[in-house]
């Protein structure tokens, strides 16, 4: 472990994980002296019966649910946030519970800003006015899959994102009744996103033991449980372990600068309406191959996390970084058949790669040069090795 240079790390969220975790929400709400939460969830979840289980967890408690806003689909728009905020004010709620992943949590965070700051213009915070004080209590209950952004301090509404330390959820509840996934694709996508975030955090240039610790345990959980989770998406214990990995990866990712894989995947997803997870699965191997090609240092901890101590001790020191990369590729190979390997399979038109690279490198604040982004994209497009 090197001597840590300057770093900052914040994890605002209290995490409750395990059997009957949701039943603790009323107690935690008493801690924030809130008794009437607004629940934001998606139409699919409320139809799948998970919301019935969620409501059952409030039996014999002093909590009345101010309303179940279940209009969120797969896009977080300002219209939805305004409707939910109107419901929040109408019912006089005092806290927000987001049940689900990605868009639901984004709408919940947007509602939190609207009601806490008592405003209707959300986008002035996106254009510079800072969030100054703590918002209303926000509880996140992930379900089935995860977009990796639930626990982070970023909110993405109408394709615009805002990062602020007041946007961390106050409480994250991982309950084995909610975590089992319905389909293998959804597990594949969530694990790939977590893997990309964790590897991105582990290999960042700034060295921080905190990020190291989170990324390490995220990778260890993924290494142990990913293959089983893909075979049996409904398996309760594995899905709970994987959800812990998603949480760890998200927290490591939100404290580290965004990796190139994440930036490119978000831009590609916006240009082609295909989910970002699929692009991360395609781009990750080529990003690492690109780093090896440019002789950038890949820390041995990657191999240590994925392989475990005895294998780590058995391999000679100079091969450990390459072995780490191979172990990641081996894990990704487990996704054969579930996710396309090259962008050609996804039929992404080649002429669009130019401006995607430009947008991604601009968003990374020039940490990644446009040329690097373009080369990784081109290699990923044709599936050509370095």
């Amino acid at each position: 472990m090197q001597i840590p240079d300057y770093y900052e790390f914040l994890n605002q969220a209290k995490i409750i994980s395990g059997k009957k975790a949701m039943e603790h929400i009323p107690f935690e709400l008493r801690g924030y002296d809130a008794q009437k939460p607004l629940v934001v969830t998606s139409r699919a979840l409320s139809e799948s019966g998970l919301i019935k289980k969620f409501i059952g967890a409030f039996k014999d408690s002093a909590v009345t649910l101010g309303g179940i806003f279940n209009d969120v689909r797969d896009y977080a728009g300002i219209g939805l946030a305004r409707d939910a905020a109107f419901l929040y004010r109408e019912r006089g709620c005092d806290s927000i519970i987001a049940v689900g992943n990605g868009p639901e949590v984004d709408v919940a965070k947007a509602v939190n800003i609207l009601v806490a700051e008592k405003t209707d213009d959300l986008f002035k915070y996106f254009e510079g006015t800072p969030l100054k004080r703590h918002l209303k209590p926000l509880i996140v209950v992930p379900a089935c899959c995860s977009s990796g952004m639930e626990f982070t301090n970023t909110v993405t509404v109408d394709n615009r994102s805002l990062t602020s330390n007041f946007l961390y959820p106050d409480l994250a509840v991982l309950d084995p009744r909610m975590t089992p996934a319905k389909s293998r694709d959804c597990v594949a996508e969530s694990t790939v996103i977590a893997m990309a975030h964790a590897v991105g955090a582990a290999l960042t240039d700034i060295h921080s033991p905190m990020i190291e610790a989170y990324a390490h345990s995220a990778l260890r959980y993924l290494g142990l449980h990913m293959t089983k989770g893909l075979k049996k998406p409904g398996h309760v214990e594995t899905s709970l372990a994987l959800h812990n990995a998603y949480a760890l990866a998200a927290l490591a990712f939100s404290n580290a600068p965004a990796g190139m894989v994440h930036l490119l995947a978000v831009e590609l997803a916006r240009a082609t309406d295909i989910s970002a997870g699929k692009f991360m699965r395609i781009l990750l191997p080529y990003k690492m191959a690109h780093m090896m090609h440019k002789k950038m240092k890949i820390r041995d901890e990657l191999f240590l996390a994925l392989a475990g101590y005895d294998e780590y001790a058995a391999t000679p020191a100079k091969d450990r970084s390459r072995a780490g990369v191979e172990r990641v590729l081996a894990l990704l190979a487990g996704l054969k058949g579930m996710m396309p390997e090259t962008m050609k399979d996804l039929k992404v038109p080649k002429y669009k790669l130019g401006d995607i690279a430009k947008a991604a490198s601009a968003r990374s604040g020039k940490r990644y040069s446009e040329a690097d982004c373009k080369t990784v994209l081109e290699h990923a497009w044709e599936g050509r090795a370095f």
Partner: protein, 624 residues
């Protein structure tokens, strides 16, 4: 004046980069399988273009096809087709236009023109029976469509030109020919990207004579009789033009109001065809030749203007909550001069107004007030300020600024002026139409909402009806003949004429398979076989004609899936899947998922919407 019997199958392939052209022959098998017009154009591009290329790059090609009915005297046969890969949707787009250019090219002896490559400097093409001349367009580059058109028409009978919008690669720029337009999908931008200002054809060098004159005359006479008897083509269209639909859409609650939130509006009658006919004492101003005469011209505060079509009135009028016809005529004039598709412009402006209302973007556009609209149209055409983003279309603009849930488009093409929540079958047709949210893919809203021949909210037989109508209309677009003749051909044969409408509705509701197959659409194939001199077998000929339509539709779908289109794109804007219309207490939404799976099975697509190998083989489409 030489004579052409039937069709001479001559084609011009123009390479703009090398400034060379080549005369080739239309393959007999293609003519038989794909008829002409839209079908032939798609097949020509299918053989020459490989997928994944940049629509605004030099490798993209435009195919102009004339169809075999043109010049023969058949009713409403003055329209030509253009096919290319659309910069707006990234998929194939086919458009039709009734301007004089088609007739001029056909009477110059050409059945189809294919343009590829890119000119180094702005040029325009001069076409006559001998071939093509490349002429510098420095003088007319930057001019609006009317001025450019006037300059080109000195050299030939018909011309197409692009306006400043096409030159600035506005994604929904259109092509003008006379006062008619090749509107949708941004074909003008493709010509702009090739530095091609326009094409003029000398015309009047050949006379087109049908091979079997006697049979052709008989069928033609029956066609004219049907058109002049049908209440729609001879009644409401001839007197009020397509704007006869404004009151009908308003009454049936499918008129787009305030970016498709409301279905009807109290003041809608102010912009209806009837009011405009009275106020502007309209005269005919149509494609030539036309038997229906639906286009109109009127004097508006002293000057002669073309009366806008229903789509323009819907999208730039009620959709922006503007109910002053003179104002809409002015905007329609602006869009025509700059060469921009009024449907996409109206849809994008409506999105911009709602985005401003919700704080996503800063513009002075507001629903109900015309302030700032003309300036914004100019900014879009010259890509200035916010106009530069709006010129990319409402999909790209909503991706950049957010508001995707109220960007009303499918696959990037802005939606036409019919709210699918009032005719759910047409909602399915919007989702599965090959070029995007197009109302002409299967004109189901007229069966469901206008004519009451199917119940608007039922979903049971709708996938079958959409497929049947898509096949027939694709075949009609491959003749080519104007789609409005469909009302005469469908509704006039004795079988349909005599059964009362409610009975047809019950039939369509429960036995749609039987009802639709009883439709006698033999008039079109009869004309086709008469012109080419082939023998027409009464019932089998019609089935072969409809199968050709299916082949054309599935080929276009197959070409689109190679560009990445799949089930994820066959959807509707979230507004139609989640919210009800303001004018509808029961708040109906479009139950798309219930119909899409069945539609794919009927079409022979797999679960992801890709045509199966078996289907392609059955329709003998060669797999590349």
């Amino acid at each position: 004046m030489q004579e052409v019997i039937g069709t001479n199958n001559r084609m011009l392939e123009i390479d703009l980069t090398a400034k060379k052209f080549q005369v080739t022959e239309v393959d007999k098998k293609d003519r038989d399988l794909y008829l002409g017009g839209k079908g032939l154009g798609l097949k020509l591009l299918y053989d020459r273009m490989e997928p994944g290329l940049d629509p605004l790059g030099p490798d993209n090609m435009i195919a102009f096809t004339m169809g075999i009915l043109m010049g023969t005297g058949a009713p409403c046969s003055g329209r030509f087709e253009a096919i290319t890969k659309s910069p707006l949707t990234g998929a194939m787009v086919t458009g039709t236009c009734g301007g004089p250019f088609g007739m001029a090219v056909k009477t110059s002896g050409w059945d189809a023109i294919i343009v590829k490559g890119k000119c180094s400097a702005p040029t325009y093409l001069y076409i006559d029976s001998k071939g093509v001349q490349f002429k510098p367009a420095k003088g007319i580059w930057g001019k609006d469509t009317e001025a450019a058109q006037a300059a080109l028409l000195k050299e030939g009978a018909g011309a197409i030109v692009i306006g400043p919008a096409g030159e600035n690669l506005v994604k929904y720029a259109n092509i003008a020919s006379g006062h008619r337009f090749l509107g949708r999908g941004g074909i003008g931008a493709v010509m702009g990207s090739k530095n091609l200002k326009g094409i003029v054809a000398r015309g009047n060098e050949f006379k087109i004579v049908p091979a079997n004159k006697k049979k052709f005359a008989k069928a033609n006479k029956r066609f004219f009789k049907f058109i002049n008897k049908n209440p729609i083509t001879s009644g409401s269209y001839r007197s009020f033009g397509t704007n006869a639909n404004v009151n009908l859409s308003n009454a049936s609650g499918i008129l787009p109001v305030r970016n498709f939130t409301g279905g009807s509006h109290g003041e809608a009658h102010k912009i209806s065809g009837e009011t405009m006919a009275e106020r502007f004492h309209t005269k005919y101003d149509t494609c030539k030749p036309c038997a229906i005469l639906c286009g109109h011209r009127g004097t508006i505060n002293g000057k002669e203007h073309h009366i806008p079509e229903y789509e323009t009135i819907g999208l730039m009028g009620s959709n922006l909550e503007i109910f002053d016809p003179a104002q809409i005529v002015e905007w329609n004039e602006l869009c025509s001069k700059y060469g921009m598709d009024t449907i996409s412009t109206g849809g994008t402006l409506a999105w911009a107004m709602e985005a401003t209302e919700k704080g996503l973007i800063k513009t002075n556009l507001k629903f109900g007030s015309p302030s700032g609209v003309s300036e914004m149209i100019r900014d879009i055409a010259y890509r200035k300020g916010m106009g530069n983003d709006l010129a990319e279309g409402s999909r790209a603009a909503s991706k950049k600024y957010g508001g995707e849930d109220f960007a009303i488009h499918v696959k990037g093409l802005e939606m036409a002026a019919y709210d699918p929540r009032g005719c759910v079958g047409h909602g399915l047709s919007y989702a599965t139409a090959n070029r995007g949210a197009c109302h002409l893919s299967s004109v189901l809203f007229s069966l469901e909402a206008y004519l009451g021949m199917a119940s608007p909210y039922a979903t049971r037989w709708k996938p079958f009806m959409v497929k049947f109508m898509e096949n027939v209309l694709s075949a009609v677009n491959s003749l080519h003949i104007c789609l409005f003749t469909a009302y005469a051909v469908f509704l006039e044969p004795p079988l349909i004429k005599l059964t009362p409408v409610p009975l047809i509705k019950q039939l369509n509701q429960n036995l749609s398979l039987v009802a639709l197959n009883l439709m006698d659409v033999s008039l079109w194939p009869e004309l086709w076989h008469a012109v080419l001199g082939k023998t027409y077998i009464p019932y089998l000929g019609m089935l072969k004609f409809i199968k050709a339509g299916e082949r054309v539709h599935v080929l276009e779908r197959y070409m689109n899936t190679r560009e990445g289109i799949s089930r994820k794109d066959d959807t509707l804007p979230r507004r139609f899947l989640t919210e009800g219309r303001k004018c509808d207490q029961k708040e109906h939404t479009v139950p798309l998922e219930k119909m899409l799976g069945k539609y794919y099975r009927l079409r022979g697509y797999d679960a992801n919407g890709i045509p199966k190998k078996r289907t392609l083989k059955r329709l003998n489409i060669a797999i590349q």
